[in-house]
Amino acid sequence: MQDWRKNKLAFAILMAPASFWLILFFTIPLAIVWVYSFGGRGPEGQTLIQFSFDNYRRSLEWIHLGIIWKSIVIATITTAACLVLGFPLALAIAFAPSRLKNVLLLLVILPFWTNLLIRTYSWIAVLREKGFLNFGLEWLWNETDWVLTLLGMPDVLGDFQPLRLLYNLPAVVIALIHVQLPFMVLPLYATLEKLDKSFLEASLDLGASQWRTLLSVTVPLAMPGIASGVLLTFILSLGSFLAPDLLGGTEGLMIGNLIAHQFGPSRDWAFGSALSFLIMYTTFIVLWVRSAIASRSEGGVGI
């Protein structure tokens, strides 16, 4: 690879399509939304271009901050659960024999090929009162009741009451974990794969237990991957609106839903834009924190 300074023209030509795409489809629309966030709303829902901080002031009202806080909490729980579930999975794939690696990776990526809406909808079929989970539990209940009756205790178990697993926050979190897990596993796997295994061997040779090696050697070395995975999962969960809308019932109001509502029934695009940018600023802060962590960790493999 040449240093780009040596051939600026070639560099510019190669950069051009990507820059053009980025500017046309990212920067310009984002700028328009930014301008809207200072705008106002006409009586029939038109967006008026003006300059006022009303929308930002409104988005910092207690009730909206409460919704943002709730979204952050849900996103944090989802990210933590994905990390706990995803790290062992990534570790297993990274240390698997090479013929199995591709198969295992495929299994993680395969759900991506299914539409997000269908994946979220399928949780309704599993969790609802007449869904698969409750059918299974009911079957177990009835079988246990039958066995107990045979053993001479006929009325110990009453009627089966289906569990209320849907239309509440736990359902939303479950679906979000399911959807976000690949985003955690893949960056983690990428880092663990590039890990210099000799470090681990050295640690084991020097007398550390497997557990100690994991905590003191593997995890610090994999920190950039963990940071990437956590960042990706957190940001995506924060902005999700499909899972809370379909599965949350009356408890499912996250910031994504609120923003979507502004661009839909409320026809208050200016306020929706202001809320969106509030999330953007949060994201930028988190990104800045991430780069601070990355620059601090020396010896780790960056993504």
């Binding site: 029939e44 038109q46 009730i63 409460g66 919704i67 239309y167 019932g249 009356t250 409320s266």
Partner: protein, 361 residues
Amino acid sequence: MIRTLIRPSSRRSLLKGLGAAGAAGVAISILPSKGFAAEEKKLNIYNWDTYIGKTTLDTFKQKTGIEVQYDLYASNEELFAKLKAGNPGYDVIVPTDYTLADMIAVNMVQALDHSKIPNIMNIDPDSKFSNPVYNPGLKYGLPYMWGTVGLGYRPSKTGPIDSLAAIFDSDKYSGRIALLDDQRSVLGYALKFLGYTLNSTNPDEVTKARDLLIKQKKHIKTLAGDNGQDLLLAGEVDITMEYNGDIVQIMHEDKDIAYVVPKEGGIVWIDNIAIPTGAPHPDNAHAFINHVNDPEVNAELTNTIQYATPNAAARKLVNADDLKNPAIYPPAELLSKSESIAPVGDALRLYDEAWTAFKAA
């Protein structure tokens, strides 16, 4: 043989002449067509799903030879948002009453030429249909279908229900209730239950409605956007607030479903067929609107989708069972207490905030 009859040089000039004639013909045909030629025989319709008869489009094509391109949308907001940025080429749209009112205010629909719609005389002369407040004299659209938003329920589980108290003032059905995921409908119902008007712009009234909803929130299982009837059918809920047509459809599949317009009065909606500004084929659009209001075509449409028609002449040909079905044609005394959702202008902010507070509570 032709080759020898026409000498080569004159063949060339013959071809040149034909080419020139062809070019002239093409040029003439792409000149602006007003007065020169009729619109091309195409029509772009943008309508709700399952909202047209089985033969409506075929009979239209037979009568006029016009090809129809038929697209679907799922909500008034989607329709409004699509057209707000400029008409992408639709000739016929079907907005609900309050959306049509908003569209009229921002010039998104064009005035109709009633001389091209002779079947307009078939519309029910009742002022609700023939001279609505938001569309006086039917200048910007004709009523298409109408219906109510009421309560669908399962009598075997809930017993008879006739009032909004079942969802707003009782814990008998706790956890078995679904409401519409629509702020105007739900807050509107709360307002009606408290004795106020559906379209209140009074902040105190809207606040009281909001507080009532927040108090009842723990008894409500979920807010269903458009699948309340599916939840009722599957046994996930026993009462749902839904559009009458959706409940009538599941009544076919399950006899243990009933529908009622609550005694406090329900919500009446009227969908209108209109022509958006910038439509490429306005004449064909007028012809289609006229076709839909032909008594036989309208009756076939109504009998297929089982909504109520505002076309008085067509009612004579509607299924007798449908006419007697209170889920489709509600009794007059309930109808008189029902209201339509009307735009509330800037007061929409009150409803937005009340709805957000309810959802976040």
